[in-house]
Every structure is written in structure tokens, then in C-alpha cells.
């Protein structure tokens, strides 16, 4: 297990190194001249040349890359061109706020999804089961950005229960902070719950037909205990995998949701810096998201191995 974790970490490092080259190359071909943008539209040629020289933009690309990568390894993410501030702290703040959004969402997705899945599996074939399955079918088919708009229209506009957009720090009071979190979280959760509940349902139905569940029933255990202690445990193993996949979808969803709700997280920072052509920020942002994504995937795989006794990654590495 330890060896496996170590191998995966080394692999992540390789991926990030390759990605850093790709990202750097990609942002080099982004349209627009950086120096021109810094000094503004009406700058003279000399001013532009001076800025290019100061930033080292006239050096060969590989020299620029090495300079950037060396700074990265020292933990220096560079300076945002638009905000004229070091990128490190900016990303740190944004990541913390995104993490709150993601953390609350994934916990709710797991809780609601597993509950709905078990609920409809136990009531297989009833009206309640059909209602859940039609409901989840519908939720899968609504894109996040449209769902966000519906939610804003309904709960912020029509009912006026929650603020439509924005973010309030914890220092404004817990209630205010929570109010700003409700709609973005609801949007993120709505799409993902369906995956979890559908998978939990089918895996639960399969488990309920297995020998040991029948045996548990035969020895006269109450149904609730059979479900909780015998069936659920095993039925949840595949659910963990789908939760891992959902972490990826969640990160995509966060970019959209943060943009719609003007929630100042990493996703919005990234979209904003792409719009503003803030190249150092784009580079650092994409690399950070990739790193977080890789770590999240690793964590999910380790959790999976932990919960599934049949797979303990020893000598046999999955791929």
C-alpha cells in the first residue's frame, strides 16, 4: 500500500512536469502581446520594448520556460499581471473558498445519493422507486449552468430566500456565510446526486439478492439490520468509485458555478484571468487545478482500496 502510494505520487510528479511544459507552450500561443497589455494601448514602441526586456519576453522560449519552472520549484508562482500582486496568496485564498464549496457539496452528494439509492433499492418497483428514478433521469439531463439560473430565479428572485450571487466571509457571521453558500452548493449537488443514487440502487439490489443477505434474513434478523449491517457495507464499494469520478465532474462544475454565482474561488479566478489574458495567473491556476485533481484521484483510489478488502494494492499495481 505504501509502495503503491509512493509510485502514484512519483507518477503525479511526472504528469505535472509534462503538463507544465504543455501549459507553458499553450499560454505562449495565446493571442495578444503581454507587454502591450501591461503598458496599455497608447504606449510608444520604446516603452513596449522596455517592458519586454524587463520581463525577458525576448529570450528563447525554452529559456523562459526554465526560468518559470525554476521559480515554481522554489514555490514562487509569479506575479499576476492584472492585479499586480504575487499569485501564491491569491490562489491560496481562492483554493480555500473552492474547497469549502467542494467539500460541503461532495459530503451532501454522498449522503443524499446513498440515501436515495438505498431507499429506492429497498422499495424496488414501487411508485417511490419510479419517482426517484425519473427524478434522477431529469437531473442528469439539466446542465449545471442552466440549473444555476433556475435556482437563482426561483430562490433568489421569486422567493427572495437567498442572495443571488456573491460571497460573504465567515467574519460577517455564520448565517450570512451559509446563506451565500446554499445556492451554489444546491446547484453542484443536484447534478451529481443522480449518479451516486443510480449506482447505489443497482449495486444495492444486486447485493440484496446475494447468499449472505438471504442467510442473514433466514436467521431471523430484522430487515433494517440486514440492510444496514450486511447489505449496505458491500453495496457501497462501487459507490466509492463513482464518487471518485464525481470529484472530477465536481471540479468542472465548480468552474461554472463559481462563474455564475460570482463566488471568488479558484474556478472564477481562472476564468477571469483567461478573459484578462493574465498569463502567469492562467499558468499557475491550471497547474494548481491539475495538481489538486491528481491528489483527489489518488485519495479516492486509496479510499477504494481501503474499503475493498479484495484489492489491497501490493505488488499488483492496477494498470
Amino acid at each position: 500500500m505504501l509502495l503503491y502510494t509512493f509510485k502514484r505520487l512519483a507518477y503525479i510528479a511526472v504528469i505535472l512536469a509534462v503538463m507544465s511544459v504543455l501549459i507553458f507552450w499553450a499560454t505562449q500561443v495565446m493571442p495578444g502581446d503581454v507587454a502591450q497589455m501591461i503598458v496599455g494601448q497608447f504606449a510608444t514602441d520604446e516603452q513596449i520594448r522596455a517592458v519586454r526586456g524587463r520581463l525577458g519576453l525576448d529570450d528563447p522560449v525554452h529559456v523562459q520556460y526554465l526560468r518559470w519552472a525554476a521559480a515554481l520549484l522554489r514555490g514562487d508562482l509569479g506575479v499576476s499581471m492584472m492585479m499586480d500582486r504575487p499569485i501564491g496568496p491569491l490562489i491560496e485564498d481562492a483554493i480555500l473558498r473552492s474547497a469549502v464549496l467542494a467539500g460541503v457539496s461532495i459530503v451532501l452528494v454522498a449522503a443524499i445519493g446513498i440515501f436515495l439509492g438505498v431507499y429506492s433499492a429497498v422499495r424496488k418497483g414501487t411508485a417511490a422507486d419510479h419517482a426517484v428514478s425519473i427524478g434522477t433521469y431529469f437531473f442528469i439531463s439539466v446542465p449545471e449552468f442552466f440549473w444555476a439560473i433556475i435556482v437563482i430565479l426561483l430562490f433568489a428572485g421569486y422567493l427572495g430566500w437567498f442572495p443571488a450571487t456573491g460571497y460573504a466571509p465567515m467574519s460577517d457571521g455564520f448565517g450570512t456565510w451559509l446563506q451565500h453558500l446554499v445556492l451554489p452548493v444546491a446547484t453542484l449537488v443536484s447534478g451529481l446526486v443522480a449518479h451516486v443514487s443510480r449506482l447505489t440502487r443497482s449495486s444495492m439490489i444486486e447485493t440484496m439478492q446475494s447468499q449472505y443477505v438471504i442467510a442473514a434474513r433466514a436467521k431471523g434478523l430484522p430487515e433494517a439490520l440486514v440492510i444496514r449491517r450486511h447489505a449496505l457495507r458491500n453495496a457501497l464499494v462501487p459507490t466509492i468509485t463513482v464518487l471518485a469520478i464525481d470529484v472530477g465532474m465536481l471540479m468542472g462544475g465548480i468552474v461554472v458555478v463559481e462563474t455564475v454565482f460570482s463566488y471568488p474561488g479558484l474556478g472564477r479566478l481562472l476564468i477571469f484571468s483567461i478573459e484578462q489574458k493574465d498569463i502567469p495567473m492562467v499558468q499557475a491556476g491550471i497547474l494548481t487545478v491539475t495538481a489538486v485533481y491528481a491528489m483527489a484521484n489518488l485519495a479516492a483510489d486509496l479510499l477504494y482500496a481501503f474499503f475493498n478488502p479484495r484489492i489491497r494494492y501490493g505488488n499488483a499495481v492496477a494498470r
Binding site: 499553450a26 439539466v142 428572485g157 471540479m251 468552474v255 455564475v260 483567461i274 491550471i286 491539475t290 485533481y293
Partner: protein, 272 residues
């Protein structure tokens, strides 16, 4: 063969939407970019069935115009995904060894970036264009297609008729094209239907973020983004494209379910 109900309902709905997309400009009551300042934010009514937007443009006409771009992006992305993914998957599964290793490492690189970010990365480099969005979305889903095709190829490659073809000394491209591929289609087709829905949604999301079509042209995603500032005064401008988008996604999802029922042997055995 009797079609399952989901396939009938899904393909029927999709056929209507596709017909609207094809005939779009011909059946639209107004030109999609005709502005009329006097008719801003008209609610749905007899003249403008779905109302008008902030420039007084007819929402229905824009919806019909956008249908073409939205569907083309979804279908184009899936087509790209098939064209790139299936050959790579076949090669990885059939040749194994170094070829397999190289292809799978490439795939690992693509999946190491969260889907939407990959799209953003590709699209932010160059000016937006619907075809670029389609390719960007296609690239995102190539890994899934490669893995699926590879798994199916591995399974079929050990069948007797493939071994026989090998023993006859057939060339690799013949075995792949004439022996393996015809038998590998069913799961690939089912997966493609699923990819279309994801591609339509992801394409719309990228457009929504401003990385797809250029105004005044519009697809459904961009229409919703443009309507967002006026959502309180004129909700229909955003809701119309959103609802059509959802109906399209549900239709393709139903087609996918229906195809799976027909094509997936495991499911058929289960039902029989």
C-alpha cells in the same frame, strides 16, 4: 426487431429537433439577428412565441439558428472522439506491448486534467470557433473511447476466428478492419450515444463561459449566458434555450438507453 419504447420516444424527439436545426433559417419567423429596439423584452405571445431579448430579437428564431450550432458541436465532438479514439483503442488492444504502453500513457496525460479545464485550456489559446469547441470537447472524451475500444478488442482478439485469421497470415489491418471492428461496434455505438449528450452539455457549458461561438451568432449555451443579466425582467430569454437543451439531452439519453437494450447482450440475457 421491435424497438424499445425509450428508443422510439428518444429518436422521435431528436428527429424533430434535428429537423428544426436543419430547416432553422427557413422556418424561423424572423432573421436571428434582426434587432428592434421598440420590441425589447416582449413576453411570449402571438407574434413572438418565445418572446424577445434585450435587443428585441425573436427568441424562437435565435433558438432555431442556435440549434444547428449546438447539435453540430455535440455530433462533431462525438465524431472526432470516434475517429481518434477507435483506431487508437484498436491499436492498443491488438498490438499490446510498447504500442499499448505509449497510447495509454498519452491517455493518462489527457485525463490528468479535469474535463472542463482541458476545454478551457485548448479554447483559450486561439479565437473561438464552433469547430474548435467540438474538437476540444472531442479530445476530452477520447480517453473513454480508447479504453472501451481497447477492452473490446482485447476480448475479441482472443476469439477463434481472429486466431484463425492470424494463422492464415492475414495482415493486421485486415484483421482489425474486417474481423475485429465489425464485432466491436455494439458497445462503441452505445457509448457514442452517451458521449453525444455529454458533448452537447459540455459544449454548451463552454459557450456559456464565452469560449464557444462569437456573438451575434449564438448557440444555446451562449444564449443563456447573454440572457443572464436580465434574468429577473425577462426570464423567458434564458429559459427557452435551457429547456430545449434539456429536452435534447433527455432525447439522446433515451436513444442511448434504447440502443443499449438492443445491443448489449448482457442486458438481453438478463431480460430473457
Amino acid at each position: 426487431m421491435r424497438w424499445p419504447a425509450s428508443l422510439v420516444a428518444g429518436s422521435g424527439t431528436f428527429a424533430v429537433i434535428a429537423a428544426c436545426a436543419l430547416l432553422g433559417p427557413a422556418i424561423a419567423p424572423f432573421p436571428f439577428d434582426e434587432m428592434n429596439i421598440m420590441a425589447r423584452f416582449l413576453p411570449p405571445g402571438a407574434t413572438h412565441w418565445f418572446g424577445t431579448d434585450e435587443f428585441g430579437r425573436d427568441v424562437l428564431s435565435r433558438l432555431l439558428f442556435g440549434a444547428r450550432l449546438s447539435l453540430l458541436m455535440g455530433l462533431g465532438a462525438t465524431l472526432f472522439c470516434l475517429l481518434a479514439g477507435v483506431p487508437l483503442g484498436l491499436a492498443a488492444g491488438y498490438y499490446g506491448g510498447r504500442v499499448d504502453e505509449a497510447i495509454m500513457r498519452l491517455i493518462d496525460l489527457v485525463i490528468s486534467v479535469p474535463p472542463i479545464l482541458m476545454g478551457i485550456l485548448i479554447l483559450s489559446m486561439t479565437p473561438p470557433n464552433p469547430w474548435k469547441t467540438a474538437i476540444a470537447v472531442g479530445i476530452i472524451y477520447v480517453p473513454i473511447m480508447v479504453r472501451l475500444t481497447r477492452a473490446v478488442t482485447l476480448e475479441i482478439a482472443s476469439e477463434e476466428f481472429v486466431l484463425a485469421a492470424r494463422a492464415r497470415g492475414e495482415r493486421a489491418w485486415y484483421i482489425l478492419g474486417a474481423e475485429i471492428l465489425p464485432n466491436a461496434w455494439p458497445p462503441i455505438i452505445v457509448e457514442s450515444a452517451l458521449r453525444i449528450t455529454f458533448a452537447i452539455m459540455l459544449g454548451a457549458a463552454l459557450s456559456f463561459l464565452g469560449l464557444g461561438v462569437h456573438p451575434p451568432a449564438s448557440d444555446w449555451g451562449l444564449m443563456i449566458a447573454e440572457a443572464r443579466p436580465f434574468i429577473a425582467e425577462a426570464p423567458w430569454v434564458a429559459i427557452a434555450p435551457g429547456v430545449v437543451l434539456c429536452i435534447t439531452v433527455i432525447a439522446v439519453n433515451l436513444i442511448g438507453d434504447g440502443l443499449r437494450e438492443i445491443l448489449d447482450p448482457r442486458l438481453k440475457r438478463g431480460r430473457g
